[in-house]
């Protein structure tokens, strides 16, 4: 007896969490501001283990934040800026209401703003942390840079996004760190490796957007605000590490056209616009801070890492060599892009692997040579037929470029000629595990990578074999009939059934396992059943896929035969 009476919900998990509304009130912010603050600071809700306890006995749906997080937000200087902005809006509205245009103008001139530098530094204490999170930033910037200059968001934001994304692409080109490209129905996925981090981003196809109504652009804009800041700092740092000038400039070692533009660029207004468009042409290389010799790459020494034996080292070295080879995939090739192909994407990819690329002068600035150039090796075309063709170059469809990049080798061009039905475009991101379904095209590709020549399918042989089989079957049947006629009453000596030892052993083993499974503990059994269920399902799916493929192949083969007969 004695002591203070314990009350419910005064300690433990109930005090560690705070509901969203309470947090908002504690910070004295409107919901929109609270949302912005959470986005900028990277605060997300938490799911308590015992929701009812935290909710003080109620089972109503609520969003909970950690109280510590909210306390952390209270010290954020940006909260003060939000309040300032609120007051600014109030004053402005008042001035407009009273028709005091002068005051309104003055107020607008003093519009309070804020910077996110410290938040970026706080959220990403090291540069690698920031790089790790840059995927979403890139996808968002690339999306925003395709928005129209009217309506949905500020023109400055769109231009900034465009600038940053172009800077990023130029950096990737300079570093030659693009690894994989994938043409999906959503857009184009790019994967690059920067400072050991794998970074994937998605770029929409160049079309006008059908702006949906169920999207809150304010949320998107807040994210973009954060992402542009992040990407800007990252770009700066990356350019610095490569000794490149930031903001980037293109080199002057280009033909007279470029010089002409440079003269123009003396006149301030055109400066930013032109340089951006030149940059976005992606055809010229960038100015370096220190002009370095061409062959600056020193031979690197290789040291075995800790706990790594000779084999692993060799493996690593081989991977390194492969990568080097991939980086020089298109070196020495000269490409010309026809006007119907996605210019920016192709120029980016080709330049990333060391190709020279140009396009029609009227299409975009930055074209370096003409269609008539005799040294062009590949002409990328995406139309069913072409009237005038040069004899000393390949006319390929754009998929060839992407497939080559993913295969890390120059694929045979025959499958990608103009007007030819393209082979399927496979995702380079899928790594099939054992037991997964592997499409036959992938198998073919793997064989090609190993250096085996694909064997031509010879339909005639198959059919001949089939016929042979048919004949032999007939003979067997005939023999059987004869025997039947002869031996209708005969008693033949019994034959000892051959005992399949192997099979019997297997069966015994299977039975043993089945019996052991029966003796499992309930908890283990549950887990085991779950795992086995998953395995069986994946096997089933793989089987279904291969059956589907087989049926499709047979159907197409039959179609072909029909056509031939006709």
């Amino acid at each position: 007896m004695g002591g203070l009476q314990k009350k419910k919900y005064e300690s433990g998990s109930a005090t560690n969490y705070i509901s969203r509304n309470k947090a908002r009130k504690k910070l004295s912010l409107s919901l929109a501001d609270f949302r912005r603050l959470c986005i900028l600071k990277g605060i997300y809700p938490h799911e308590p283990k015992h929701k009812k306890k935290v909710n003080k006995g109620s089972t109503a749906q609520r969003t909970f934040y950690l109280l510590k997080d909210i306390r952390f937000l209270m010290h954020e200087p940006i909260v003060g800026k939000f309040r300032e902005y609120k007051i600014f809006v109030r004053k402005l509205r008042k001035a407009y209401g009273k028709a005091e245009w002068g005051t309104a103008e003055k107020l607008r001139g003093n519009k309070p703003g804020y910077k996110l530098d410290h938040i970026i530094k706080e959220r990403y204490p090291t540069f690698i942390d920031a790089l790790r999170d840059v995927d979403d930033a890139l996808s968002m910037c690339f999306l925003f840079s395709t928005f129209p200059r009217t309506g949905k968001c500020h023109v400055q934001t769109i231009e900034l996004c465009r600038r940053l994304s172009v800077e990023w692409m130029n950096y990737i080109i300079t570093l030659r760190s693009l690894r994989k490209v994938f043409l999906s129905i959503k857009g184009i996925y790019y994967q690059a490796e920067v400072l050991g981090q794998i970074i994937t981003w998605l770029v929409p196809y160049q079309f006008a957007h059908d702006h949906p109504t169920d999207v809150d652009y304010r949320v998107m804009a807040t994210f973009t605000e954060l992402y542009t800041t992040l990407l800007g700092f990252i770009n700066f740092r990356l350019y610095q590490t490569l000794n490149l000038v930031y903001p980037p400039k293109v080199t002057h070692s280009q033909p007279a056209v470029m010089l002409h533009f440079d003269l123009l660029s003396e006149f301030g207004f055109y400066c930013s616009l032109l340089s951006l468009s030149k940059l976005s042409a992606l055809s010229a290389s960038l100015v370096r801070v220190v002009s370095t010799a061409e062959a600056e790459e020193a031979e690197l020494d290789h040291f075995p890492a800790e706990g790594e034996d000779g084999e692993k080292l060799a493996e690593r070295l081989k991977a390194r060599q492969d990568q080097d080879r991939q980086e020089k995939l298109f070196e020495g090739l000269k490409f010309f892009l026809n006007r119907e192909v996605p210019r920016e994407s192709l120029a980016f990819v080709l330049r990333c692997f060391g190709a020279q690329v140009s396009w029609d002068k009227s299409l975009c600035i930055g074209s370096t040579y003409d269609v008539t150039d005799e040294t062009i090796t590949h002409h990328v075309v995406d139309r069913p037929s072409l009237e005038k063709q040069y004899i000393n170059r390949y006319y390929v469809q754009p998929q060839w470029v992407y497939d080559c990049v993913n295969a890390r080798m120059l694929l045979p061009v025959e499958d990608y000629f103009v007007g030819v039905t393209l082979p399927p475009h496979l995702s380079p991101f899928v790594e099939e595990k054992e037991g997964d379904y592997v499409p036959p095209e992938k198998l073919k590709l793997l064989a090609l990578q190993k250096g085996e020549r694909p064997e031509e399918e010879e339909d005639n042989d198959d059919s001949e074999e089939e016929e042979d089989e048919d004949q032999s079957d007939d003979e067997d049947e005939l023999k059987g009939m004869e025997e039947k006629q002869a031996s209708s009453v005969k008693v033949t000596p019994g034959e000892a059934k051959p005992v399949n030892r192997q099979r019997a052993e297997q069966e015994a083993k299977a039975e043993e396992k089945r019996l052991a499974v029966m003796m499992m503990k309930k908890r283990d059994k549950y887990l085991y059943d779950k795992i086995m269920f998953g395995k069986k399902r994946s096997v089933r799916e793989a089987n279904k896929m291969s059956a589907k493929r087989k049926a499709l192949d047979e159907a197409s083969k039959a179609n072909k035969k029909k056509k031939l007969k006709k």
């Binding site: 605060i43 997300y44 204490p125 979403d136 493929r549």
Partner: protein, 651 residues
């Protein structure tokens, strides 16, 4: 000085005031009286209409209405004859008739037509623009300009002076140019990985977006495209349930690929996920399923146990509820629902004897004593003791003698069970005693010595559910005053004076000598169907209708040492082998599972239970499979009886 003239004028005004005011008053009163007379006369004419006068003159005398003696006829005549009748108006005020002049008639006509009363008024006079664009020689107003318009403003001068002074002093500065472009610099120039805030130590980075598979390609392999049925299923599914959030599509060339309509939505959803989703670290179980399987001794090392179905005993036409084997292991007895009891030779599957009884046989039990050849058979309310006459003749005759040597005691007690000796054909068939019970008997069970026989008559809550008969003295006892729950089966302990009674959920162990409850075993199942006691006496197994088999260790606990859930359907029978460490269970799923159940003499070592064989053979009929199992007393063979009317021997 200044104020004085004003005061003077004021006073003057006051002095002048009376005469002026009077004259004013007069004129006012005059006009008032005029208007008053008018209004008065109007109003008077209204209220004086019933009086002979129309008003009053200045002297206050009545003014009488003019004498008017016109009646309707006069009026009519006047209308007919007077040419000016149409312009004559009766004046109500004066009571006289007034004839309108030509001008007046004209005025009335014009007013009626909505024209101006004055004939000469021109409403369409040309407009004269005073303030026109034409510069005239004279100004419109000739007011001279103010002086202040020629003199610089002092107030403005003061204001400008102040501003100039403030600028000179540096108090006012020009507005700073606004920074429009964001400024970037090397933010991570001095990065310190240890300077992580406390909150960010706990931070869970957002998972990356899932990378696309082959199905998202603009030109996927054909097997990734959905067939028509799959597409229909996809369309009918809820968007949250769909495995793919988009429909895979194939385009012949890159040129043909359209914009993805849900691109912005997907990016927005990702944004929502980033700031609205709770994050949690989930440990993925990374277990090799083979490691989960317990390491058991190989069944091959635990031989002997039955592995093959070797013999089938055909003969019964209905399901066989019970089987029993003679202690010598040479004979087998089976009781079936076709109202027969059959005796078989084990090795040859020959049916040596068929005995018809008066009802479906519920239970048969061979007397376990080797010196007595007696089988208890229960059907309906009767239990008959049969001497099958198989095997050693000496034993058979000794048994007959034993039964016939009974002498009735002097004082006959009233028993609840009638003991009768059959006669005639029944006697010839081998029936030696018939015990008639008050209720249907479900199970019979012999004591190890062979003198006592326990019978079960299940009936929930009744005091008479279990009776124990002593054959040699033809005496019946009811051991329990009352039973809790419906008794399912009973069994004698093989070595000690214990009696086990299984009700629906519990097994009670009674000490027969002390006449008390020693133990109550909780079976953890819904409904016990069968029970068997290990020949060592320390272990009991219970089969239940909810597919479980519970192994009890009587020394350890009242809870099962192990619960086995090997069968898929209800268990019907369980049995222990007498010598070998084996037990078997038969179930409705048509299988008999033989387990190795080694009990060690060392009390510290737990029994080892390993399933060694699943025996299949019985055909499931009417959802019933195996109904009873029994082991051979000497060999590692197991018999099972099933609903398909066969008994099978597995060796």
């Amino acid at each position: 000085m200044c104020l004085e003239p004003a005061r003077l004028s004021h006073s003057l005004h006051i002095t002048l005031c009376p005469s002026l005011s009077i004259s004013l008053f007069l004129s006012l009163s005059l006009s008032l009286s005029l208007s008053l007379s008018l209004s008065l006369s109007l109003s008077l004419s209204l209220w004086l209409s019933d009086y002979p006068h129309i008003g009053y003159d200045l002297d206050g005398k009545k003014i009488f209405k003019p004498i008017r003696n016109k009646d309707e006829l006069d009026e009519f005549l006047d209308k007919m004859e007077n040419p000016d009748y149409w312009r004559t108006i009766h004046d109500k005020m004066t009571g006289t008739d007034v004839c309108l002049s030509d001008e007046q008639v004209d005025l009335v006509h014009r007013l009626q037509q909505g024209k101006f009363g004055d004939v000469n008024f021109n409403e369409y006079e040309p407009a004269i623009d005073f303030f026109s664009n034409e510069v005239m020689i004279h100004p419109v107003t000739n007011r001279p300009a103010d002086k202040r318009s020629f003199i610089p403003s002092l107030i403005e001068k003061e204001k400008v002076g102040k501003l100039v002074h403030a600028i000179k002093m540096g108090w006012i500065k020009p507005r700073r140019p606004k920074e429009t472009a964001p400024q970037y610099y090397d933010l991570w120039a001095k990065e310190d990985p240890n300077a992580i805030l406390g909150r960010h130590k706990m931070h869970i980075p957002a998972p990356k977006m899932r990378l696309p598979g082959h199905e998202e390609s603009y030109n996927p392999p054909p097997e990734y495209l959905l067939t028509d049925e799959e597409r229909q299923v996809w369309e009918q599914q809820d968007p949250d349930e769909r495995k793919l959030s988009f429909l895979p599509q194939k385009y012949l060339s890159l040129r043909a690929v359209p914009a993805f309509s849900r691109f912005i939505q997907e990016r927005f959803e990702r944004c929502l996920d980033l700031y609205l989703c709770p994050r949690q670290r989930k440990m993925r179980v990374n277990v090799n399923p083979e490691d989960l399987i317990p390491k058991l001794p190989r069944p091959r090392d635990l031989q002997p146990f039955p592995t093959l179905q070797s013999l089938v005993y055909h003969g019964h036409s209905s399901l066989i509820r019970s089987i029993s084997i003679s202690p010598s292991g040479q004979w087998l007895v089976s009781g079936s629902d076709d109202c027969t009891v059959r005796f078989w030779e084990v090795c040859t599957t020959r049916c040596l004897k068929t005995m018809e009884v008066g009802g479906p046989v519920k239970s048969v039990a061979w007397n376990p004593a080797p010196s007595i050849s007696l089988v208890a058979v229960s059907y309906g309310e009767n239990v008959i003791l049969v001497n099958p006459g198989l095997g050693d003749r000496l034993i058979c005759s000794a048994t007959d003698q034993l039964i016939s040597s009974y002498e009735e005691p002097e004082e006959v007690k009233d028993q609840q069970v009638q003991w009768a000796v059959p006669e005639g054909k029944a006697q010839e068939q081998g029936q030696r005693l018939i015990l008639t019970h008050p209720k249907a008997v479900k199970q019979v069970s012999w004591h190890g010595r062979g003198d006592y026989l326990a019978c079960v008559m299940p009936d929930d809550g009744s005091s008479l559910q279990v009776v124990i008969h002593q054959v040699s003295r033809r005496r019946t006892q009811n051991p329990f005053h009352r039973n809790k729950g419906a008794v399912q089966c009973v069994s004698f302990h093989p070595s000690r004076p214990y009696f086990l009674v299984a009700t629906q959920r519990y097994v009670r162990v009674y000490n027969l000598i002390k006449q008390e409850l020693t133990k109550k075993l909780m079976a953890n199942c819904k409904w016990i169907s069968s029970m068997a006691v290990h020949p060592g006496g320390d272990n009991v197994i219970c089969g239940s209708y909810d597919c479980r088999l519970a192994w009890f260790d009587l020394d350890l606990s009242t809870k099962p040492y192990k619960v086995l859930r090997h069968h898929k359907k209800a268990l019907r029978g369980v049995a222990y082998h007498k010598h070998y460490p084996l037990f078997a269970s038969g179930s409705d799923d048509g299988t008999v599972i033989v387990c190795h159940g080694m009990v060690y003499n060392d009390l510290l070592q737990n029994p080892l239970i390993v399933p060694v064989k699943v025996l299949k053979g019985h055909i499931i009929t009417h959802d019933l499979g195996v109904l009873d199992v029994a082991f051979h007393p000497t060999q590692p063979w197991v018999f099972s009886s099933g609903a398909d009317g066969t008994v099978r021997l597995f060796t």
